[in-house]
């Protein structure tokens, strides 16, 4: 049996990308990757790896929580859930009969949601009447619903890992299949992109309310991270959580979700990667045939908001029924800049492995903390943060840990990192590029992300050169420029004093 507690489908992607520095050595990767952009703008990467007779696929749309505005936070994620509900052909026993009922569901659901959004001032009687009406309509529609048919179809042919994830920058859909199922994949997924039908919307909205409680409200690290990001970003939408604020998840309408989808789910805003036992000569005609005639859409809107320069330290202190935690972050430039690469190297030197500075000094020698990790987040498309997350060890406090981390940061500003430290980082990044090529899904995800967010999968190879070019001086310059008190946000969770 699959163990309870496995990662669930439709997770929001982790807020902080821990800097494992993903990938690579270029090991003939260029020979294995075949890239093509269809007439409608969909870019497809076929990655040949002829091991076991299986392939993994992931496609992503360049849309995430960063594309949401106040009132509809969580919509990118909500729509991701809805993409599993089928099409006019899949998930229904009779779409013609189902359709008019769905339109009524949409109308009553909207009215109910708008009333709900009034909160305390909502008309309770009206709410009850609308809820009842909605329930009756949903019951009527359910007679035509073939439950979770996409799951059933893939399960029957041996598909594994049907899943999706939403992040700040992108929304991803994945599945792995035996290699004789490529046409089935093309059929189901092209249908889903072209014609998703948003069945069971209001039930799914309720699922997401529970998802938020389970994965954020009951999890101290996630709750702290949410407050931390909201403090670090005043204006830029990186400040709101991927899962959305509870009020918005509570009241967003099917109409809003669909409008959001139509704006961003276009082939010209999508990259598909297929990695594994695929023969390009057979795969290209299938890909062209199924995905090629999805109509191109308008270019997605440009995000105008730029986070203003931070002018002073921001602090969050939060009491909760849990042991203390620390988060700290500094604004920095976006991915693929020299500054970002210097930050990656620094994060490695400070917290990666047992020989890193903070692990050695704070975790193993002074034992102020049980763990400390540096990273970059919450996204890569726009300027973001270099982050530090630490778990103090009793009786040491978050304040002590914060001071100790800052002391190390000052040291980096004062003296260059050593040649051996720098070489170690580069050795590890080189090896991680090789290791990243040992899994179909890992490779598909990595290359897809570079193509989708930055326009060229080959930047994955170039990124290694950027990091290789980082000098000890660059790291020191980065620390002096960005790791300053006025550019800092600190969030701490402290244990709530006993209620009784």
């Amino acid at each position: 049996m699959k163990k309870p507690g496995n990662p669930l489908r439709f997770g929001t992607l982790a807020l902080i990308l821990v800097l494992g520095l993903g990938p690579l050595a270029g090991q003939n990767l260029e020979d294995k990757v075949h890239a093509r952009t269809l007439k409608n703008g969909l870019t497809v990467l076929l990655i040949e790896r002829h091991g076991a007779p299986v392939f993994s696929t992931v496609y992503g749309f360049k849309v995430g929580s960063v594309d949401e505005v106040a009132g509809i936070t969580g919509t990118a994620h909500l729509f991701e859930h809805m993409a599993f509900k089928g099409t006019p052909k899949i998930g229904t026993s009779d779409f013609e009969k189902e359709k008019p009922i769905m339109e009524d569901v949409d109308r009553v659901g909207r009215e109910w949601s708008l009333e709900l959004a009034k909160g305390e001032r909502a008309d309770k009687a009206k709410l009850a009447r609308l809820r009842e009406e909605l329930t009756a309509l949903e019951a009527g529609q359910s007679k035509f619903i073939v439950k979770d048919e996409i799951d059933v179809i893939y399960s029957n042919v041996g598909g594994v890992g049907l899943n999706a994830g939403t992040g700040t920058d992108q929304t991803l859909y994945m599945i792995s299949l035996p290699s004789n199922q490529l046409e089935l994949f093309c059929l189901v997924e092209s249908e889903r992109i072209r014609n998703a039908v948003l069945r069971e919307f209001y039930t799914e909205r309720s699922v997401i309310q529970e998802e938020r409680k389970q994965t954020t409200d009951a999890v101290p690290t996630r709750l702290l991270s949410e407050m931390f990001m909201a403090a670090a970003f005043m204006a830029h939408p990186y400040g709101h959580p991927v899962v959305g604020w509870a009020s918005d998840i509570h009241s967003v309408t099917l109409e809003e979700a669909l409008a959001f989808k139509n704006r961003y789910y276009t082939p010209n805003n999508c990259v598909l990667a297929i990695a594994g036992d695929v023969d390009p000569a057979k795969a290209w005609p299938l890909v062209e045939r199924y995905f090629g005639d999805i109509p191109r859409g308008e270019d997605p809107p440009v995000l105008r908001t730029v986070e203003p320069k931070q002018l002073g330290e921001r602090r969050v202190r939060f009491e909760f029924d849990a042991e203390p935690l620390l988060m700290m972050g500094f604004h920095k430039p976006a991915f693929l800049t020299k500054e970002d690469a210097a930050a990656s190297v620094l994060a490695y030197v400070l917290t990666s492995g047992r020989t890193s500075r903070l692990s050695k000094d704070l975790v193993q020698d002074k034992q102020i903390a049980v763990s400390i990790s540096a990273g970059s987040g919450p996204g890569q498309r726009y300027p973001n943060l270099m982050t530090f997350s630490g778990v103090p060890r009793f009786p040491h406090t978050v304040e002590e840990l914060e001071a100790a981390v800052l002391e190390h940061i000052e040291k980096v500003k004062a003296e260059p990192i050593t040649d051996r430290e720098l070489q170690k980082v580069k050795n590890n990044i080189g090896a991680s590029y090789v290791r990243s090529m040992s899994s179909n899904m890992g490779l598909a995800m990595t290359l897809m992300r570079y193509q989708l967010l930055f326009g060229d999968w080959k930047l994955y190879l170039k990124y290694k050169d950027i990091v290789d070019g980082v000098t000890a001086r660059d790291v020191m310059d980065f620390a002096r420029t960005y790791l300053t008190p006025e550019n800092r946000t600190v969030a701490v969770l402290v244990k709530k004093a006993k209620a009784d």
Partner: protein, 484 residues
């Protein structure tokens, strides 16, 4: 196995290209023809035994210039003395961090990390596993260090103290998340607080562990006859074997008898355990003991699990509680097999909408009851069996995964043809078998229910779940554990 079992579907593209532009998609998958044959051969590692009796499993993988070695040594927390719970876990950590007679743990860290290589170890209930990986060029050094750690660990006191301090901190933090708390209490109640399966380390039991205990654990279990090694990567069997003979040659032949662990007694008696915590959802684990390893019902139970709660969105629990009613983000469960002579568990866990909490659990019970009283549908059993059969190929996706699968099966005493017969065994399961398995291996009367949450937010009090209710005071448990 051959490929007959995989559904077939034809690539029709070449023939139909140009025939219709819009009809390509906008079809139901059932309108596709049969899929092409899937060529799949079960890959099996080679095995050989070193001069001193170490059993080795080997699988070549020339794709990338990497090598990896995994060692498995029987003996784990089930075998630690009752007053020293936590010994095995500490052992698993300090085996690596405490260094060897020749090298400190810090020296090993420095050398491995500079090479972008790693060796990590941990000890679980049944065995210690130690995993090593490096670039091909560093294989010789990697296995030298690995062998030194396996044969001559030093368990330096400073690293014992560090590991203990880290464990003490995680004990403080194990009460922070309600679902984990429910899991922890469930294990204790299911197996019994005194049983090797249900007891948990406390600050006191951890403080009682001394360096001599770790050395003793090592002397007792670490011997060539009790070690299995798996090697895969860009290296020939001959080279791998020669290197391993060289690094382990000073280790004298010796076998180990693994002590028997007293068999588990069923303690589940229908009690509802309620622990109050101010948290937004109702967290629950419920169940009782499961089936033994190599039970004749193994495959019936596998199919039943897939239909009940193991098969993601095609499973009844997920379909009804999440997809139809929006009561949870996820619910999984089923009956698991034991390992060795032991029994697994029947268990279901979820984090549920608080104001419909009791309603949701009643629903779980009625889903179980229905599986006991009525046959599953033809579609359900077909999907479950097809899924298990057709996804079998994914057990062979990665070389390292194939290797560790064979090693684990061998160590757990499965017959050599277990995987060869797997698909036929799944295919033989009938609807009557599924119903029989549901009746035999799930008992709603006996099942315990552990609840962590805030009853003021529940639709009905925990007492309405049936059975007697026992309250658990989390704060008192936490206080009792505080380091003095």
């Amino acid at each position: 196995m051959n490929n007959r079992t995989i559904l077939k579907r034809t690539f029709a593209a070449a023939v139909i290209a140009g025939l219709s532009l819009t009809a390509a998609a906008q079809r139901h998958p059932r309108e596709l023809g049969p899929a092409p044959e899937l060529a799949f051969k079960l890959v099996r590692p080679a095995t050989f035994t070193l001069d001193n009796g170490i059993r080795c499993f080997y699988l070549e993988d020339r794709e990338l210039p990497l090598v990896s070695v995994t060692g498995l040594i029987k003996g784990g927390s089930l075998h630690e003395p009752a007053g020293k719970v936590g010994l095995a876990s500490l052992f698993g950590t300090v085996l690596r961090t405490g260094g060897t007679r020749k090298l400190t743990g810090d020296q090993i860290n420095e050398e491995l990390e500079f090479l972008a290589a790693s060796i990590e170890s941990s000890t679980g209930p049944q065995n210690t596993s130690i995993r090593a990986g490096s670039l091909k060029k560093d294989f010789g050094r990697l296995v030298e260090l690995l062998a030194d750690l396996i044969m001559n660990p030093e368990f330096r006191q400073d690293k014992i103290d560090l590991a203990r301090n880290q464990s003490l901190e995680s004990m403080r933090r194990r009460w922070d998340q309600p679902y984990q708390v429910a899991m922890l209490l469930f294990n204790e109640k299911l197996y019994g607080a005194d049983s090797p399966y249900g007891r948990r380390a406390t600050p006191a039991s951890l403080q009682a562990v001394a360096r001599e205990d770790l050395l003793d654990f090592h002397r007792r279990y670490f011997a060539p006859g009790n070690l299995a090694l798996g090697i895969t990567g860009d290296i020939s069997q001959k080279e791998a074997r020669a290197a391993l003979e060289r690094v382990f040659k000073s280790w004298p032949k010796k076998t180990v008898a693994i002590p028997e662990v007293p068999p588990l007694a069923e303690k589940a008696d229908g009690t509802v355990y309620y622990a109050a915590k101010d948290t937004p959802q109702g967290n629950v684990w419920m169940g009782h003991l499961g089936i033994a390893a190599r039970s004749p019902d193994e495959f019936k139970v596998k199919v039943m699990n897939d239909i009940l709660g193991g098969g993601g969105f095609t499973a009844r629990l997920m379909k009804e509680l999440r997809s139809n009613r929006g009561l949870t983000y996820g619910i999984y469960g089923g009956v698991s097999e034991g390992i060795g002579r032991e029994r697994g568990a029947f268990r279901i866990g979820s984090q549920l909408k608080a104001d419909r909490f009791v309603e949701a659990i009643d629903l779980v019970k009625s889903i179980i009851r229905d599986m006991q009283d009525n046959p599953v549908s033809d579609e359900e059993i077909a999907t479950a069996k097809n899924s298990l059969v057709n996804s079998f190929v994914f057990r062979f996706e990665q070389k390292g995964q194939i290797l560790s699968q064979f090693m684990q099966l061998k160590l757990d005493g499965y017959p050599d043809d277990y995987l060869d017969a797997y698909i036929e065994n799944i295919r033989a399961v009938s609807k009557a078998d599924v119903r029989e398995a549901a009746r035999k291996h799930m008992d709603l009367e006996k099942m315990i229910i552990v609840v962590v949450g805030d009853e003021k937010r529940f639709d009905r009090p925990p007492a309405s779940l049936g059975g007697k209710v026992e309250s658990i005071d989390l704060r008192a448990l936490q206080e009792a554990e505080k380091v003095k």
